[in-house]
Amino acid sequence: MPLALVHARYQLLEIIRIPVAVVGSAFFPAAAMLFFVVPFAGDDPVGATYATAAMVTFAVMSANIFQYGVGVAEDRDQPWNPYTRTLPAGPAPRLAGRILAGLVLTYVSMIPVVLIAAVATEARVSAVQFLLGLGAVAVVSVPFTLLGLAIGYSLPSKAAIVVAQVIFFPLAFGGGLLSGPDDAPGFIKAIAPYLPTRGAVELIWTAVTDFRPDIRALVMLVVWVLVLAALAGWAYRRDEGRRFS
């Protein structure tokens, strides 16, 4: 088995044996679905589909930013982490394993959102759109994974929790995840295209509806991926485990 899969497998094993961790990242988007989407947009097939896609983006974002941001920072506090760094493997398999495990958990954390949408709202997608949506989720998780890794590798765990939360909400609201494609307040419309959340949600809307994405938002998403990849790579390289002075 390739080393990346080995790392992914053990990451997942560790997480699955403490299932509350999985519930945590699934809860928030599911709750938002129940409190905001079902009562306000549940009866409108188009609105509900858009809102569900936005909640899926929300789930992807929260699963990745917190899982990597907080998870990596906490791992770095554990003596097991420096030990694994003495094994004859470079950063690539460990990182790839983490990302694979993260992707699996991202899909798991979306299940409640999708189930609520199917059962309690009029949101509907075709089979092809559903599959496209699954693919879009994988693409969209890239920038948030990188963002989480950058946080996790550059900060101690207590700071990582705070920074992840502080970054999380402005990105979610500013990117217009909590409003429909066209009914966002003016200032959000102005800043949204420049945030990675906007490009992400537009990609998912494009996959599951007949939405036409704003090219600006997609270009910015690519720019964000490049910037965040550089940032995460830099944070990883300067990391020597927990620092004391």
């Binding site: 088995m1 080393l3 080995v6 053990y10 094993l13 560790e14 044996r17 403490i18 554990q78 003596p79 097991w80 982490n81 420096p82 030990y83 760094r85 003495t86 094994l87 004859p88 493997a89 470079g90 020597e240 485990g241 620092r243 004391f244 002075s245």
Partner: protein
């Protein structure tokens, strides 16, 4: 063949200079003990040699390459700290995980057998006893059939029996041609295992020689006797009173005995013995302490 080398290595953490121009060479087949009190810089030196940290100045080398390059670590075995095992994973899973990193790992059953853990293969590491965890941690260093094993405080917290079992495993590995770098503040351990001792204190190498030579360099002898009261005597490094006897450590036993006699002290049962490594080591690192007054 040199397996690990530090050349004029310094490492600074903020204001603290943890290592100060340290030189160390470990050749194939050696069993080197790294001895020093907590905070002396042992762990920092080990972290540099296994690629966990970068030196602030100087050069470290592992199996002929940079320890931060994964290829240099292919023949290296390291022990995680016992507290660091992932508690939710089972013993067998932890071994499999580490095995996956090596081209020709020791089969799981064989390894666990050797370290007396065969019955624990299905247990989660969080449920093991401290001794079992420690044995698993040490076992992991041997998974990849390494040439060099680096053990940082391998038997901390073990009972005597378990410690001796681990020593046997380490000796067996060395007898088969393996190279060991072992840090400890258990002086007994270094004395029992190592041929060569490197004493580290305050981030510097204080001594680097054979166990016997280290004792010789220091030349500390233990003069023990039964006496009521002693005047202040020159050349006494440390004094302790145990079981009705006075034990004096000195670098010149002959002179001390002469001084005792000329001082006209009433004593009997005089004994002069070479010191244990522990006593020698205390004497080397005692430089910055005020010389203890004679009792």
């Amino acid at each position: 063949m040199i397996l690990a080398r530090a050349e004029q290595v310094s490492r600074r953490y903020g204001e603290v200079l943890a290592l100060d121009r340290v030189d160390l060479t470990v050749r194939a087949g050696e069993l080197v003990g790294l001895l020093g009190p907590n905070g002396a810089g042992k762990s920092t030196l080990i972290n540099l040699l296994v690629g966990l940290r970068r030196p602030t100045a100087g050069r470290v080398e592992l199996c002929g390459g940079d320890p931060r390059d994964p290829a240099s670590r292919r023949q290296l075995g390291v022990t995680p700290q016992e507290t660091g095992l992932p508690g939710t994973l089972r013993v067998g899973e932890v071994v499999d995980f580490v095995s996956a990193h090596f081209p020709d790992p020791v089969p799981r059953g064989e390894l666990l057998d050797r370290f007396g853990l065969a019955d624990q293969v299905r247990r989660q590491t969080g449920g093991l006893s401290g001794g079992q965890r420690r044995r698993l941690a040490v076992a992991l260093a041997f998974v990849g059939r390494p040439r060099l094993v680096v053990l940082d405080e391998p038997t901390t917290g073990l009972d005597v029996e378990a410690r001796h079992a681990l020593w046997d495993a380490i000796r067996g590995f060395h007898a088969d041609g393996g190279t060991v770098l072992l840090s400890s503040h258990y002086l007994e351990e270094v004395e029992a295992l190592a041929q060569r001792v490197v004493v580290i204190g305050h981030g510097r190498v204080l001594a680097d020689d054979s166990v016997a030579a280290i004792r010789g360099i220091v030349g500390v002898r233990r003069v023990s006797l039964v006496a009521h009261d002693l005047p202040a005597l020159p050349g006494v490094v440390a004094t302790e009173r145990a079981d009705g006897r006075l034990h004096l450590l000195t670098s010149d036993a002959d002179q001390l005995v002469r001084d005792l006699v000329t001082a006209g002290v009433a004593f009997h049962d005089l004994e002069v013995r070479p010191t244990s490594l522990e006593e020698a080591f205390l004497a080397i690192t005692a430089d910055d302490r005020p010389a203890p007054a004679a009792a």
